[in-house]
Amino acid sequence: MGSGVGFTYNWTNTLNYTKIFNEKHNLNVLVGAEAIKNQSTGHGASDRDFPDQSPNMRYIGNGLVLNKNAYEYASGWALLSGFARVNYNYNNRYLAEGVIRYDGSSRFSPDNRWGAFYSGSLGWNIHNESFMKDLDWLNQMKLRVSVGQTGNQEIGLYNYLSVVSDGYNYPFNNNNNYGYAVSSLGNENTTWETTTTYDIGLDLAFIDDRLTFITDYYWRYTTDMLIPVPLPPSGGDANPPYINAGEVLNRGLEIELYWREERSGFKYEIGGNFSTLYNEVLSLSNGRPIAAGRIDDAVYATLTEVGYPIGSFYLYEMEGIFQNELDIFTHAYQGPDIQPGDVKFKDQNGDNIIDQTDRVHVGSAIPRYIYGMTANLAWKGFDLSLFIQGVAGNDIYMQVNQDIEGFYRGFPVTQRYYDNRWTEEGSTDEYPRASWIGSSNNKKASTRFLESGSYARLKNLTLGYNFKLGKNSSVKSMRVYISAQNLLTITKYPGLDPEMYESDNLNSENVKNADLAAGIDWGTYPLSKIYTVGFNIRF
């Protein structure tokens, strides 16, 4: 039984100044300050072993266990900002804007609280130029260029402090004695993470705004990346602090295209967007790669290394299955208990031994392409809308298969493993023999469990009808509709749901670095298909 209260207040003040000079020069200046503070408290208690289970006896204190738990906590954070923005345009043709802000956060040590962030952009409304005046099929042509910075401070509230916790007890004589130890380490030098985005874009609209086309190319540099870089366990097991640990680049192309039309009662809008994404780690604080994505004691599925995408999968590469003894003998040494039917791993460095140096970067959870399509149609009271979304070029490490096809404990196995497993020479090159002793080789974290995560999904399909109502009716509008969400998914992924809308890594108690370990499927609960029937009436 517990309760918690959080209280946040936000005090913002701005001062705005607008002036038009000589009819053509438009100037706007904004200056402001913002203060945000949060205070949270909570408390609770628990009890066990109730001898009388009837509802009017279920109260804390009635349990038989000697140790009852009671707890209380309080925490808070604060942000303070000052900012200024200048906006100028000349005759709505040439546009310029500049912003500066200065933010302070309670989460950093007093010497490192403040960060300064700048933005600037220029725009050219080409369609307003005199030489474009006669092109009446062109409604808008705007060229934009911008650079912008934002700051990130989403780390623990007291990251700069090393915290001493209780619960490390020991019994002397026959009595429990309380013990304390440092449970997490702080770092005083941690400060704001900055993301600087450079963007160039073009907005076009044709034929009375019926066809619109927007395109952008962006480069997004995240510097002073906040990562809890793991520390050598020979220094202790306390949780490592977030530090500013490196730089990552995201860049890509975005395109958006829409066609809108309305004629004789039939109104429609169809469009889509498409974007590419390229991700690369540019530098890491001490140059060394960071292993993350812990899937077992001392086994990490991802490695964040300079020159590769963040959290890229770092695994053994499965070459096939050993078919006979000669196969094993001629291949690099993989261990003393290898038998025909076991998984064969690739010797990457040619040293004739399969060990940790034969793991390589084999893929990434970050999609290369993201796309979507929407359509909205309306005719005589009927309306139909649909929304499709998809990604391509990403991989998912299906950890759940390691449990249900790895055959290392008494878990049930999948039908496809049972049907396709290696039974004799030449039977298969994809699924190893079912052997408990062999499983320690066969369940090794490798491309055997790496799947393509590309998918396209019909996220929403809605069909509705608006009733025609008399002018003087007291009912203003009436609509009936049916709708389906996640109706259809096209994917090759064998798991439950390639969308993995929630990263299961956050739930795994042993994961300390969820940011560097996306795309690991521990059996993510899939999104449901939802069918809805609805009726709206407005008076």
């Binding site: 604060a78 302070g104 309670s106 019994p171 026959n174 429990n176 013990g179 060394r288 086994v299 261990g335």
Partner: protein, 500 residues
Amino acid sequence: MRRINTKIIILLVLVSAILPGCQKFLEEDLQGERSDQQFFKTANDAELALTGIYNVLTFANSDNRIWVFGDVASDDAAKGGIPGDQADIGLIDDFNVSTDNGNLEQVWVLYYEGISRSNKLLDHIDGIDMDAERRDQIKGEAKFLRAYFYYWLVNVFGDIPVHTTTPTAEELQRAATPVAKVWSDVIIPDLTEAAALLPETFTGKDLGRATSIAAYAFLAKAYLFTEQWSLSEEAAMSVVNSGLHQLALVYKDNFTYATRDNPEVIFAVRHLAEQDPGLGNGMNSWFAPRAQNGYGFNAPTQNFVDEFETTTEGVYDPRLDYTIGREGQVWLDSNIFFNPDWSPTGYLQKKYIQPLAEVPKESKDQGQLHYIFLRYSDVILMLAEALNEQGKTAEAGQYVNMVRTRARESFLYDSSLPGYGTIPDDLLPDITGSSQSSLRDAIRHERRVELGFEFHRYFDIIRYGESYANDAFSDKENFTYSKYQHFPIPQSELNTNFKL
């Protein structure tokens, strides 16, 4: 003009309202817990931090896997349990160990956390204003415990990085120190200082803390590992001469709840049931048969059973049935007999398991027996070994016979033994008139049967040398002495410490 003036005044008022509060506004203090800058200030803080170091010893934590290396890796035990359960332990048993074996990581992380807590307390203890005598004792206890953690790490892993104060970020990147230096520069100095700072006994509410006698006993062991025989003899004699410890009347008193604090125990890891966080002995569950809600790990081998002497009539050394369960014998509770189907080897060991009458199936992991790290018979046998290696064979023989006599006289003092009342003929006869090399073999044999399943066997095998080890592991085709003197450093350390 008027309008602009008013606006400026409003602006100034707003700005000036914020500015003085600026830095104070962003100060959020840690609530309900202390930072390490606020801790380590009072005598009470020192005691809390010291207990935090003792906390690492407990076998309530399933990461505490020294038994996998001490027993399962040796010729005393096999993994046990059902096939496929804890396969990584089986890989250690088979000497097929790679750096991603989970047991390596569990022991490494746990024991280095113990070292980190010891270093933190030792860094701060001199700055705390407190009673000087207790301060010295706390230092002694922290050093003893640090030596304990380094003892297990150096024996399991060999060359390891050493920290004796809290490291800075740069110092975390540390190369490995060779085995000999870990003993000579860390373990032995820590124990020597601890012996000088600690009292001879801790009683009453402090029962269980490390004493100076424990430090001497541990030193005797450390000197044996480094083959400094006369220093080992000297340390062991300090224990003997103190008169504070002696052999228990019956061997099994050490492994029975009611007599677990008898004078033979010199230093043990203590457990207590029904605590939150738990402090019960998990081994009560891990090594018990599955039929009694256990896991059945650490199963004794036939080789271990064959090491025990029998009389010509077939009466076994009573220590066999005090250590393990086998067919036809009572298993702990007087109404339960051991079923050999409970184990793939036909045997299970019982030193950490209590009868169901004391710890029922439902709370199987709430055992309250100790893990005895140092007991008097170990000290006696170490003394015998040290004397024998210096050529003092006759004197050494006397001490070996003390241990054998105690075992033999179980028939006089343990009424539950079948045949109680008279000692069977030629059971465990005294050793007389042997040569140095035959007494050496006798001592090694005696250590194996006396200290079985107390996590010492593997490390004894390795320190006895290559030919002994090759003989002991003649049935393990993957074992080579050069490769498995020690086990590999775990991958998580190799991933983050770039000086290794």
